[in-house]
C-alpha cells in the first residue's frame, strides 16, 4: 500500500520553492515576490514577538521553579538536618505544575522549563510522556535513555557506540541508574578544573536528576506508584526531583496515588498563568498596537476568539489562526503589497503598476471615497495614475494615524467601561475592540447604558481613571493628543479645586441637622417631603456638572476616534475580513458537508435536473444520494432486498419515466451493480455496517434524521 517516488532531478531550495508557489497562481506577477517577502518578514516578527510574550509570562513560574530546585538541591548538598530528617521519611521533592486544560500549549511551557533548568540547575533532565510508558520497565528504559543521552551531550565526546550499546543492553533498574549517576558525578569531579569550569559554573557539584511527567493524568496509576515507591527507596543515593504536569487540578495527585504513596512526595504547587490571560496579553501585544500594519477584521477576530473559547482554549491554535489569516491576506489580496510599515509606503506606492492602480479603484471603500469628492477630483482620481498614487499615499498615512489614535482611545474607553458595574461593554478589552470594529459603538445600546453608568461614578474613581487616561495618552505615539491631555489635566485640576471648595458647602448639612431635632411624625413627614422636593428641583452641584462634562468629553473622543475600520478608505489593504475562509479551514464540519452533499446534491452539482425546492430530492440524483435517502426511512436494520427493490424502482422510473414500473420485476444487472456500489460507499462512509442478526440485513449506524 505504500509507494515511494523519487525524482531524478536535483532539488531546489525550499525558500525559492515557497516563493514560487506563492507566485504561481497570482495573475499579476510583479508584486508577488515583494508580497511574499513582506508576508514572511511580518510573520517572523509576529512569531518572535509571541515567543517573547510566552517567555515573559512564564518567567515568574520558572524563577519559582528554579528556586525550588535550588532549595531542595542545596539541602542534599549540605546534608543539613532538615534533609536527613526528610530522608528518614524518604520523601521525594516534587513540583506540581498546574498548567490548565489547554494541553496543546503545554509542550512549549515544558520546553521552556527544560531549557531553563538545563541552563541553571542540572544537565540531567528526563521528560516522560504517558504514551511511552505503558509499564514500569518502559518508563525506566525511557528515563535511562534520556539521561544517558544528556550525559553524552555534556561531555560531547568520544565513543558514541559505547553509549548506544549500553543503552540497549543495560539492565534498566534503579541500581544501574544510581551507579551511572555516581560514575558521572565522579567523572566531573576527577576532571581537570579548567574543563570542569564550563559545566560546574552553572551546575552544582552533584546536580539533581529532574524527571518531568508531562501529562500526569494519562499515566497508569500502577506505573506511577511503582516508580515513586522504588525511587523513594533510593532517594538518599540519588537526588531525584519530580515535576508533574497537571492539566486539571492538584487534587488529581491524591486521586491517582493512594495515601501511602503520596506521603512519599513532598509536593510544592506551582500555577501557570491561565490561558485566558495569556490570550489577553497576546491580543494586547499583537492586535492592539500600531507596530504591525496587518489587522484582523471584526468577524475574523470573532471567529478566532470563538474557537478559543468554545473549542480548545489553545493559544497555540489562536496564533496558528493568526498566521493563516496573514498568509491568506497576502495571498488573496494583490494590494496587500502596501500592507507594510509607514516608511516603506511611499516607495511602494510609487512603484505601483497600472493594473494595481486599477485594483485600488475597484476597492469598494475607495469608490465610496471617490463619490464624496467633487467632480474635478473624481475624474483625476479615476484617470490619472500619479494623482491616484499621491492620494493613496495620503490615505494610507491617514490610516496609520487612525490606528495609532484608535488604540489609545480604545484603551482610555476601556479604563472607563471595565470598572462599571455589570460591564455593559465587556470586561476584556478584546470585547470592546470587537464592538468598536463591528459598527459605530456610540450607536449601540450598551454604550448608551455604560455612559449613563459613567455619569454616576464617584469622584475618586473618576480622578484615578482620568489619571490613567492621561498616562495612556502620554505614552501613545499619536501626535494629536496634546490638546486632549491638556484638557484632561484641566479636568483633574478642576476636581482638585472642587475639593477645596467643598468645605464651604455645608449648607445641606444643616438641613440634615434639623432632622435630628425632636419632632412628631407628621412634621417629620412634612419636612422629608419638602426636602425631597427641594432636592429634585435643586440644580446640580458643581461636581455633578463637572462629571457630566468629563463624560461628554470622553464621548466626543470616542465619536471622533473609534470609527469602525470598515468606514475608513482603503481599509481592505490592512484588514483581513474573510472569516468564512478562515473558519472553513480551521473549524471545519466534515459531517455537515457530507450531509449537504447527500441531501442536496444540487448544492454542489449545478444541474437543473437536480434542483428541488424544499429539501426534497429528485429521483435523478446520484445513486448514493438515493440509496442514502431510502435508508433514512429504515429502522435499526435494513433488509437489503427491500432496499434493492426500492432503489431499482426509483432508478428505473428516473431513466424511463414512461415505462411501466410493474413490468420489470426482475432487477437489471447494471442497476444491481450500481446498488452494490452505492451500498458499499455508504459502508465506507460509516452509515451502515454488515449485520449477522438476520440474513441479508445491514445495520444502520446513525440514529434519526442523519
Amino acid at each position: 500500500g505504500c509507494f515511494v517516488f523519487k525524482p531524478s532531478t536535483k532539488k531546489r531550495r525550499l525558500s525559492e520553492k515557497t516563493a514560487h508557489d506563492f507566485r504561481s497562481r497570482s495573475d499579476d506577477s510583479e508584486d508577488t515576490e515583494l508580497r511574499f517577502v513582506t508576508c514572511q518578514s511580518l510573520w517572523n516578527q509576529i512569531k518572535s514577538e509571541t515567543e517573547q510574550i510566552q517567555e515573559d509570562l512564564n518567567k515568574q513560574l520558572l524563577d519559582n521553579l528554579v528556586s525550588f530546585l535550588n532549595r531542595s538541591h542545596s539541602e542534599f548538598q549540605e546534608k543539613t538536618t532538615e534533609w536527613t530528617c526528610r530522608m528518614k521519611f524518604r520523601e521525594i521533592p516534587t513540583a506540581a505544575l498546574v498548567l490548565g486544560v489547554n494541553v496543546t500549549d503545554h509542550d512549549l511551557t515544558f520546553r521552556g522549563v527544560a531549557d531553563v533548568l538545563q541552563d541553571n540547575i542540572t544537565p540531567y533532565i528526563a521528560s516522560l510522556e504517558a504514551k511511552d510508558c505503558s509499564g514500569i520497565k518502559n518508563l525506566m528504559q525511557k528515563l535511562m535513555g534520556q539521561l544517558m543521552k544528556c550525559d553524552v551531550d555534556v561531555d560531547t565526546l568520544e565513543d558514541e557506540d559505547y553509549v548506544q550499546v549500553s543503552q540497549n543492553r543495560i539492565r534498566c533498574s534503579m541500581s544501574s541508574l544510581i551507579s551511572w549517576y555516581e560514575s558521572v558525578t565522579k567523572k566531573t569531579d576527577s576532571e581537570t578544573p579548567s574543563k570542569k569550569r564550563n559545566s560546574s559554573s552553572r551546575h552544582w557539584q552533584s546536580p539533581p536528576v529532574v524527571v518531568i511527567f508531562k501529562d500526569m493524568e494519562s499515566f497508569t496509576t500502577k506505573v506511577l506508584q511503582d516508580f515513586i515507591v522504588i525511587s523513594s527507596q533510593h532517594i538518599h543515593e540519588i537526588p531525584l526531583v519530580l515535576i508533574f504536569g497537571i492539566a486539571t487540578s492538584p487534587m488529581i495527585i491524591h486521586r491517582l496515588l493512594p495515601h501511602s504513596v503520596s506521603s512519599l512526595l513532598c509536593i510544592e504547587l506551582f500555577q501557570t498563568l491561565s490561558c485566558k490571560e495569556h490570550l489577553s496579553t497576546i491580543i494586547d501585544k499583537l492586535l492592539l498596537t500600531s507596530r504591525f500594519p496587518f489587522k484582523l477584521g471584526e468577524k475574523v477576530l470573532q471567529v478566532l476568539i470563538n474557537i478559543f473559547l468554545y473549542h480548545d482554549f489553545s493559544v497555540q491554535n489562536f496564533i496558528k489562526g493568526f498566521q493563516l489569516s496573514i498568509v491568506e491576506h497576502f495571498y488573496s489580496q494583490p494590494l496587500s503589497v502596501l500592507c507594510c510599515q509607514l516608511v516603506d509606503v511611499k516607495k511602494r506606492v510609487n512603484s505601483l503598476s497600472h493594473d494595481q492602480c486599477e485594483n485600488i479603484r475597484r476597492l469598494p471603500s475607495f469608490r465610496r471615497y471617490v463619490e464624496k469628492q467633487e467632480s474635478g477630483k473624481q475624474i483625476a482620481l479615476l484617470t490619472n495614475d500619479t494623482f491616484l498614487k499621491e492620494e493613496t499615499e495620503k490615505l494610507l498615512e491617514d490610516l496609520h494615524v487612525y490606528h495609532e489614535n484608535y488604540v489609545s482611545i480604545l484603551r482610555c474607553l476601556h479604563v472607563f467601561t471595565s470598572s462599571l458595574p455589570k460591564y455593559p461593554l465587556g470586561k476584556q478589552i478584546r470585547e470592546l475592540h470587537c464592538a468598536c470594529l463591528e459598527n459605530r459603538v456610540w450607536e449601540t445600546e450598551e454604550y448608551e447604558s455604560s455612559l449613563q453608568l459613567a455619569r454616576m461614578l464617584n469622584k475618586t474613581d473618576l480622578v484615578t481613571m482620568l489619571q490613567q487616561c492621561v498616562e495612556i495618552l502620554m505614552s501613545s505615539s499619536g501626535k494629536e493628543f496634546d490638546k486632549t491631555i491638556e484638557k484632561l489635566k484641566e479636568f483633574l485640576t478642576q476636581f482638585q479645586n472642587l475639593e477645596e471648595a467643598s468645605q464651604e458647602q455645608d449648607v445641606s448639612v444643616s438641613s440634615q441637622k434639623e432632622l435630628q431635632k425632636k419632632t412628631d411624625l407628621y412634621h417629620l413627614q412634612k419636612t422629608l417631603l419638602e426636602l425631597k422636593e427641594s432636592r429634585r428641583s435643586k440644580k446640580l452641584t458643581k461636581f455633578e456638572m463637572l462629571r457630566f462634562e468629563v463624560v461628554d468629553y470622553i464621548d466626543s473622543l470616542v465619536r471622533k476616534y473609534l470609527v469602525p475600520a470598515d468606514d475608513r478608505t482603503l481599509h481592505e489593504i490592512m484588514y483581513f475580513n474573510s472569516a468564512s475562509v478562515l473558519r472553513g479551514h480551521l473549524n471545519a464540519a466534515p459531517r455537515t458537508a457530507l450531509h449537504t452533499a447527500l441531501n442536496n446534491p444540487h448544492w454542489y452539482l449545478k444541474n437543473q435536473a437536480l434542483k428541488c425546492d424544499g429539501g426534497g430530492i429528485s429521483n435523478k440524483a446520484p445513486d448514493i444520494c438515493i440509496v442514502y435517502k431510502l435508508h433514512l426511512e429504515c429502522g435499526r436494520l435494513i433488509n437489503l432486498v427491500d432496499w434493492l427493490e426500492a432503489f431499482s424502482t426509483v432508478v428505473t422510473a428516473a431513466e424511463e419515466p414512461n415505462a411501466d414500473a410493474a413490468s420489470s420485476d426482475q432487477v437489471d444487472d447494471i442497476i444491481h451493480a450500481r446498488f452494490i456500489r452505492a451500498v458499499s460507499e455508504l459502508e465506507l462512509l460509516g452509515f451502515i455496517k454488515p449485520s449477522k442478526q438476520k440474513t441479508d440485513h445491514v445495520a444502520r449506524l446513525t440514529w434519526g434524521g442523519c
Binding site: H585, G614, S618
Partner: protein
Amino acid sequence: MSGPEGTRSGRRSLQVKFVPDEEVLKHIADDAGTKVRKDKAQLSVSVKRFVKKLENISDNEAQEILEEKSYVAVLGICAQDSVGNGSNISGGEVYSFQTPKRSSKMAELASELAQTPEQNAVSNSSKCPEKMAKTPQSSKLSMLNCLCFPGFMWAQVVWKCNLFKKKEFVSTTPYRLRKRLAAPDPYLESESEYSASCSEEEEDEEDQKEVSTVLSGEKTLGKTKAASTPTPRNSLAKKNKEEKMGSLVEEYFEAHSSSKVLTSDRTLQKLRKRRLNQQTLQELLKQAPLAYAAEIRDLSQQHESLFSKWMLQLHLGFNIVLYGLGSKRDLLEKFRTSLLQDSVHLVVNGYFPSITVRSILNSITEEVLDHIGTFRSPLDQLEFIIKRFKEDSSLELYVLIHNLDSQMLRGERSQQILAQLSSLPSIYLIASIDHINAPLMWDQAKLSLYNWLWYETTTFSPYVEETSYENSLLVQQSGSLALSSLIHVLHSLTLNARGIFRLLAQHQLEKKDNPSYPGLSFQDFYQQCREAFLVNSDLTLRAQLTEFRDHKLIRTKRGADGVEYLLIPVDDSTLTDFLEKEDEDV
C-alpha cells in the same frame, strides 16, 4: 461555568431568582423615592436593567435557545460563500433525533420518488402533509401487507397503496394536523413534525403530545414577541420540553433494546439473483455511464485551482486534510502528478486492507532514508526518522495518504505515530478522510501535532478503488486465494491424509443446507475413516488432525455435550471447487 469563558457567561448569569413583577416595580419605585440623589437618567437605566433581569428570569429557556442560535450564527459567519461547505445547516438538522420508521417507509419513499419525475413536484408543501398523514396509516398498511400479499409483489402493492393513499390524504388529514401546518415559524414546524412522528401508537397518547406541540407553539410565538410580558406559561413549556426530551430518549432505548426486528424476511437467494463477484461488478459498472460527468468535472477543476495554495500552505508548516463526499483519490493523484514530480514523495493507500503504520515507516526508512536494518518497535523507528530529518535539513518528504481514517490506520497508536511524523517541519502531509466520524480519531494533542488545514473537496466521484477491497455483503467472495492454498497444502500431504480431508469436506458439503451444522463429531469421523481404511487407530487420526490444524485447514470446537466437532473454515463454493479439482487430479 468554566472560568475562561469569563465575562460572557458572567454577564448573563445574573441572579436566577424569581421575583414577581409587581414587587420589582414597587422596589424600583421605592428606590426612586428614597434615593433622591439619583437623577432621571439613572432611573431609566435601572428600569431597563430590571426588565432585563426579568427577561433573564422568566425566559431563561428561550434565552438559551437564542444564545445557541447566536453562537451558531457567529461561527457560521458568511456561510453563503459560493461553493463553500454546507455550513448553513445547523447542527440540529444533522444530529437530530427522530423516531425509527417502519420498514414499509422505504418502499413508500421509493415509489414517491419514482412518481415524481418532474423535480418540482416534491415541494415542501405537498411533502409535509404526506409525511404527517403517513404515520397513522403505516401500521395499518404493513399489517395489510403481511396478511394478504406474498413478498414478491410487495413493492408494487405498496406503491399502489401509496397512490391510493395520496389521493385520500388531504381529506383524511386530521384537523389539528392541518392547523399545525399553518404555523409560521420553521422552528415550530420542525418541532411539530417530531411529535407527529412520535404519535404512532394509541390515540390518547397522541392527544397528549398534541397538547405539548400546541404549547410549544405558543412558546415559540411568545419568544418572538420578546418577553417583555413574561407569562407563567413559560415554566409549563419548559416542563413540556423536558418531557419531550425524556420520551425521545425512551424511544431511542426502546428501539434499540427490543430484539425483534421489524423488517421483512426476504433474502437475496429468493430473488433468483446470482451473487456478483468483484470482476463482473467492475465490468457492469463500466457499462453504467457516470452521471453528471460535466458537473463533476467542474467541481474537480475548482479543487484543482487550489493546488498551488496547498503547496504554499504545506511549505508554511500546515498539513492539509481533505473531506467531503466522493473519492478524493483522483484529485490527490492529480496533485501528485502535477506538482510533486520533482520531489521525493510517498503515497499511502490507506484503504488497502493490509496496510499498517509499520509498513509506512518501513518504506520511509528503507526507501527514502536508505537505511538497512530493523527496529525493535515502531516508536524506535519513528525516533530514528525524526532524528534523521532533524539532522539533515535538505531532506524533505511529501506524504500523501488516501483514507487516513481507514480500518487499519484509525487506531490510536497509528494516529499518534502519523501525527508525530507529520509534525516534522520537513515532512508535508496531505491526507483525505471519508468516514462520518473520522474527526473523532483526534484529540487536541493529536490535532495540534497534525496542524490541519481543512479543505472541503466534495467530488461526487465514485469510490472505485476504496470500495474494491471492502468485503461487501453483496459481492461474492471469490475465495480463489483460499482454494489455491488448500490445494497447495494438500499436495504436500500423503495420500491417506488427503483422503481424510476429502471425507470431511464431502460430509460438510452434504450438510451445507443445515445452517446449524456444528461440524462432524470426532467419533463419527473416526468411524468413517476406519471404514474407508484410512486410519487404523484413533491416535493416527489425531496426529493427522493436528497437522491439519497447524495449517489452519480445519477448526475444532467442543459442543455443549463435550464432544469434539471438526469443521473446515472455508465457504461451500470453494469447497466444491476444491473437490472438483481433486477429482480431476485423481
